[in-house]
Structure formats: structure tokens, C-alpha cells
């Protein structure tokens, strides 16, 4: 290798690697934590967005006493309210309501096993879930009162949005659809006869696995379910597809006015817990970033300070033999950049590996490496290294060679 300033920097780093490693570790670990949190948060955000896409409807009317901790189970075993509320909404002519799908859901026991029986209305029920469409459960396209609003979180295209806004067109009184978990547990197939509460039904559709509580649902006609459960004319929730622009213009308030004894909420509220978690993670990441910048800068600064002190005689000698301040600056700033580069790359590798390996266990998420984070890691690490190093370097360039000679 040709001897150059770079040779001096690398040789010195290798020569005194013990102290350098401790300084580098602070940056590496800091960047690793940030990358790991960002990787998890990013995937979690995508998962929430995907769930929003899958839900289709964006407003839910629930009884006053219902819990809304989880969208998927909000309607299960909730108190009920009259089905005629659907008509009340229709006759009120409130603009921005595209479609309504009333439901009644209850946990029942079949052969000692708990399942959720959900009544839906054909021609009303949104085949909102893309996997339902994949199963051939979609019917006529729904006429929308307004164009779908832009959802920045959504990964759906306009064509996808059109596709999800279709309705289920046929569900006879003696037909049921079963979730994948039910099908597996009770060993039923399309065409099987399945008894529920003393009445027999034909399984006409097997729903693909969704990974949600829907896998444990049996869907039947709403009015049949009401009779079976002995609560005729009652529903546990109404899913509404509302225009996002109307929602922001007070659609929820208008609905609350005509349905005062209900709880009306948007999906945004329902999935709020998950969104809040993501926001919290982002805040934690930001706080950690600030701490890491401070700790990393201090750690690198401390290392560089010690390095400059240790090399006073050497720096004095270099100045004596004709090195200018700019050469001293260059030598130390280049060293800081090298440390930042190494810390950024190592931090990215450690953080990404941790997220990929531990993500499925700790957060239930499959995480893929994000290459963009590598550039950010390098940029942040280099800036930390430079911020921590500037003062020791400033001092190094101002070492008085006369003092070095007098120390001899």
C-alpha cells in the first residue's frame, strides 16, 4: 500500500484499537437500537395500514356498552340495538353514507367448542375483505356517493378500492360460510351439512385463513341468526361505509344525533391502540436518538480527547516538521469520519439483524431489512462522530510545538 495520510490514520487506529473499540461501541449500539426500533415500527405501521385496507367499512355503530379495544371482537357479545336503526339512517338522508351492513354476533357452543355466530344481510354486507373476493364472494359493484378519499397509510390502488366496495349478493336462509379454523376443527367442506342450535345448514363457502378472529366465525343470514338466538329485530353493530370527506365534515356527529343511544366511532378510533403504540414507538425512537447522539458524541469526544492528549508529542513533532493545521485537521476529521462510517455500518447490521431475528418473537412481525436505513445510519453516525470530535481536533491543531520540545 502506498504511504499516505490514510495509512497513518488506519495504522494509528489499529495500533490503539482497545480504546477505539469502546468509543465505536457507543455509536454502534446506539445506531443498532434506533434501526431495530425503526424497523419494527415501520412494519407495524404497514400492518395497521393493511388492516385498515382489509376492514373496508370505516364507521361502526355499536351499542353504548360495547368495548372498542379491538375492531375484530367489538361486535362479539356486545349489547344489542334495534335493526330499524338502519332504516332510520336511510330515511334521515344524511349525505356521505354509502352502504350499511348490520350484524349480530354471539359466541355459541357447538359440540362443546366455542364459535362465533355472525348474522349478516346479503345485499348489505360489504365483501370488503380482499380474501373474500378471492373466494368468489363478491357480487354487484356498490354505487358510491363519493369518490374514495386518499388514504396515505393505505397501500391499495384506486382499482383495489373499487374492488373492495362490492357487496355480497347471495346468502340463503339455509346457507352458512365458515372460517378456516371452524372448517378445520369440525372437518367440514363445501356442501357439508352443519347443525347449529338444532337447525341444519349447508356450507356453501369456506373462507380462507385471515389470521383474525374471523377464522373462528360462522356467517349466516342475519334474520336466521336473530331467530336462532331469540333476539329478533336486534343487531350488535352496523358497519357503515362513509365518505372520508363527509366524516371530516361532521358525519359522525350527525349520526350520533339520530342514534343517541349508540356508540359511533371510526376505524381510526378503533385501531387507535395500535396507532398509539406506533406513535409511542416513534416517540421512544426520537428520545433514544437524542440520548444516543448525546452519549455517542460524548463517548467519541472522550476517546478523541484522550487520543489527542496521548499524541501531543506526535502532533507537536508533525507541526515541527512542517505539517500545517489543515493537515492535522484533515487527519483527525478523517479518523472521525472513518469511526462514524464503521459505527453506522455495524449499527445498521446489528440493529437489522436484531429486528429480523427477534421481531417475530417479540412483536409478532416478520421484518425485512430496509436498505434506506443503512444510509441514514451512516449519516447519523458520522455526524455524531464529527460532533463529538470537533473540539478535541480543534485543540490538536493548536498544540504548541514549543511546549512539546520544552517537555523533552
Amino acid at each position: 500500500m502506498v504511504f499516505s495520510f490514510r495509512t497513518i490514520i488506519l495504522r494509528e487506529i489499529v495500533q490503539r484499537k482497545g480504546r477505539m473499540i469502546s468509543g465505536l461501541m457507543a455509536i454502534t449500539l446506539g445506531i443498532a437500537v434506533i434501526v431495530a426500533i425503526q424497523s419494527v415500527t415501520s412494519v407495524s405501521r404497514q400492518v395497521v395500514a393493511k388492516k385498515l385496507d382489509l376492514l373496508g367499512a370505516n364507521i361502526m355503530v355499536l351499542p353504548q356498552g360495547a368495548t372498542i379495544d379491538d375492531y375484530y371482537t367489538a361486535d362479539v357479545d356486545a349489547p344489542t340495538f334495534p335493526e330499524e336503526y338502519v332504516e332510520r339512517i336511510v330515511t334521515s338522508m344524511i349525505p356521505g353514507v354509502d352502504n350499511m351492513s348490520p350484524k349480530l354476533s354471539r359466541r355459541i357452543k357447538i359440540d362443546g367448542s366455542s364459535v362465533i355466530l355472525t348474522g349478516i344481510l346479503p345485499m348489505k354486507e360489504l365483501a370488503s375483505k380482499p380474501i373474500w373476493q378471492a373466494s368468489g364472494l363478491i357480487g354487484a359493484e356498490l354505487e358510491l356517493a363519493c369518490a374514495p378519499s386518499e388514504n396515505k397509510e393505505s397501500s391499495l390502488t384506486e382499482a383495489d378500492l373499487k374492488a373492495v366496495r362490492k357487496i355480497v349478493d347471495s346468502l340463503r336462509n339455509d346457507e352458512i360460510w365458515v372460517g378456516s379454523s371452524i372448517a378445520e376443527r369440525f372437518n367440514v367442506k363445501t356442501g357439508s351439512i352443519f347443525p347449529i342450535e338444532g337447525q341444519t345448514f349447508e356450507v356453501t363457502h369456506m373462507l380462507p385463513e385471515t389470521g383474525t378472529i374471523d377464522d373462528n366465525r360462522i356467517f349466516a343470514h342475519l334474520h336466521v341468526v336473530q331467530k336462532l338466538l331469540g333476539i329478533e329485530g336486534q343487531v350488535s353493530n352496523i358497519e357503515i361505509m362513509g365518505c372520508c370527506s363527509e366524516i371530516s365534515d361532521g358525519l359522525l356527529g350527525k349520526l350520533r344525533n339520530i342514534l343517541p343511544d349508540t356508540r359511533i366511532t371510526t376505524i381510526g378510533h378503533i385501531v387507535n391502540t395500535q396507532l398509539e403504540t406506533n406513535r409511542l414507538m416513534a416517540k421512544v425512537a426520537l428520545v433514544l436518538l437524542v440520548i444516543i447522539i448525546l452519549v455517542g458524541s460524548f463517548s467519541i469526544g472522550n476517546y478523541m480527547w484522550a487520543n489527542v492528549e496521548e499524541r501531543r508529542k506526535e502532533i507537536g513533532t508533525l507541526i515541527t516538521i512542517g505539517w500545517g493545521r489543515r493537515h492535522i485537521y484533515w487527519m483527525f476529521f478523517a479518523k472521525a469520519v472513518m469511526l462514524g462510517l464503521a459505527g453506522g455500518i455495524l449499527g445498521y447490521l446489528v440493529g437489522t439483524s436484531a429486528a429480523v431475528i427477534l421481531g417475530p418473537y417479540l412483536a409478532g412481525l416478520n421484518i425485512d431489512p430496509v436498505l434506506n436505513y443503512l444510509w441514514w445510519s451512516i449519516l447519523v453516525a458520522v455526524m455524531i462522530a464529527l460532533a463529538g470530535s470537533w473540539y478535541p481536533i480543534y485543540r490538536a491543531a493548536r498544540i504548541d510545538p514549543a511546549i512539546i520540545m520544552q517537555e523533552i
Binding site: 504511504f3 513533532t317 516538521i321 512542517g322 505539517w323 500545517g324 520540545m405
Partner: protein, 221 residues
């Protein structure tokens, strides 16, 4: 020619002014071999630092061929030192993690140039000082005499006109000291270098054509 005019360097210690040098005027012709002698604290090192552009005098001027060193900017002064002056120090001050040849190349780096050519020059210098077989040795692997010869080679790296040596034989036994003085004398006689030597040693000052004696910061002879 080096022309030192009314050079004074004053330090303030414990609220008292101390003259490290006081009103010193000397003229040293190019190609001279001068020894600066005197007891400890007489101002020898201060004079050497002033000659090397490493310490700002309180009064007076140091002219090299008519150019006052202290009228130069810091970067010009660094460049002047790099090209015109070679320093040989008592404790050699070799960079411990660089080999002998890399140490010799250190003054060449600010000037730039082809790395292979620079290395060739450095190897030639080591060869002239009898160290060609030690060029890839680290300082810790060299004897004290060899380390000082590497330091001399480093001082000659940019072919300076002037060699400033601060007690170059101070850490050496008499035989090695003779060897190093031979090298400096050879540089003076055969390569026309101006050598200015700060020393306590009568053996060293005996080699010089000019002997400058300092006492309490003043030139006494």
C-alpha cells in the same frame, strides 16, 4: 544567511517577567556549522525554537535570506519549515506505529507527489545513513543510534538548507554521539547544509566552526 536581530523573548511567571532571550543579535552565513552552548535555562532551546519559526518572539526579527519568518502567516510558516528546515530532536520523536521509511516520508506528505517516488527518496536517505536493511523496522525494533539516524534522515527528507539539532547526542553514549556528529559534520561539509546545534557537550561544540555562548538569555560570546 540567517540574520537574528535584537531578539527578545519574555515570559511572565508568577507575575514576574523573565527574559528567556534578551536582545540577541547573530548572523550565521549559509553553510556554517554553529553550536549554541550554555547552562540550563540560558535560552538555548528558545533560540532554536525562534530560529525554527516555532515561537513568536516578544521583540526582534529572524530573517532567512532577507525574509522575516514572523511576518509569514501560520500556513506559510509551516510550509517554510517543511521545505527549508530539518529538525533533529534529542528524543528523536519518531512516530511509534510507523516504520523507519514511513517516518522519513512524514515531511514529504504535505508536499504531495507520487507515493512510489517519495518512498524511493526515503529509502535512498536511509541508505545514505546506513539503514537500508532497517527501512521496514518499527522504532521499537531499532537501536538508539539507529533511531537517531532515522530522525536525521527524516530531517533531510525535503532537502532543507538548514538543520536545527536540539541536543542530538544528549541520549547517546560517547561512541554513538561521535557517529551522529560525523553525520552532521558530513552534511555540513559535503552537502553544504547549515547546521545549528544546541548542545551541552564540549565534544559536540568542538566540531562547530562557530560557538555561541548564552547566559541568562544573553549572548556572551
Amino acid at each position: 544567511m540567517i540574520d537574528i536581530r535584537k531578539l527578545t523573548k519574555t515570559y511572565t511567571r508568577s507575575q514576574q517577567q523573565v527574559h528567556a532571550l534578551y536582545d540577541v543579535s547573530i548572523k550565521i552565513e549559509a553553510g556554517s556549522f554553529a553550536a549554541v552552548t550554555g547552562p540550563s535555562g540560558s535560552g538555548k532551546t528558545t533560540l532554536l525554537l525562534s530560529l525554527g519559526g516555532l515561537i513568536q518572539p516578544s521583540k526582534g526579527a529572524v530573517n532567512f535570506n532577507g525574509q522575516n519568518l514572523y511576518s509569514l502567516s501560520p500556513s506559510q510558516l509551516a510550509s517554510f519549515r517543511n521545505r527549508t528546515i530539518g529538525f533533529v530532536l534529542q528524543t528523536f520523536n519518531l512516530v511509534p506505529y510507523l516504520t523507519a521509511v514511513e517516518n522519513v516520508m512524514l515531511p514529504m506528505l504535505p508536499l504531495g507527489g507520487n507515493g512510489a517516488d517519495l518512498k524511493k527518496q526515503a529509502v535512498n536517505l536511509l541508505d545514505r545513513l546506513g539503514l537500508s536493511d532497517r527501512k521496514d523496522f518499527f522504532p521499537r525494533e531499532l537501536s538508539i543510534g539507529q533511531q537517531q539516524r532515522v530522525a536525521i534522515a527524516r530531517a533531510l527528507a525535503n532537502e532543507p538548507d538548514v538543520i536545527l539539532a536540539d541536543e542530538p547526542t544528549g541520549n547517546l553514549d560517547p561512541a554513538l554521539a561521535e557517529e551522529i556528529l560525523d553525520v552532521l559534520e558530513d552534511l555540513n561539509k559535503n552537502r553544504s547544509k547549515t547546521v545549528i546545534l544546541v548542545t551541552h557537550s564540549p565534544q559536540a561544540s568542538a566540531r562547530a566552526g562557530i560557538v555561541l555562548k548564552l547566559r541568562e538569555g544573553m549572548l556572551v560570546s
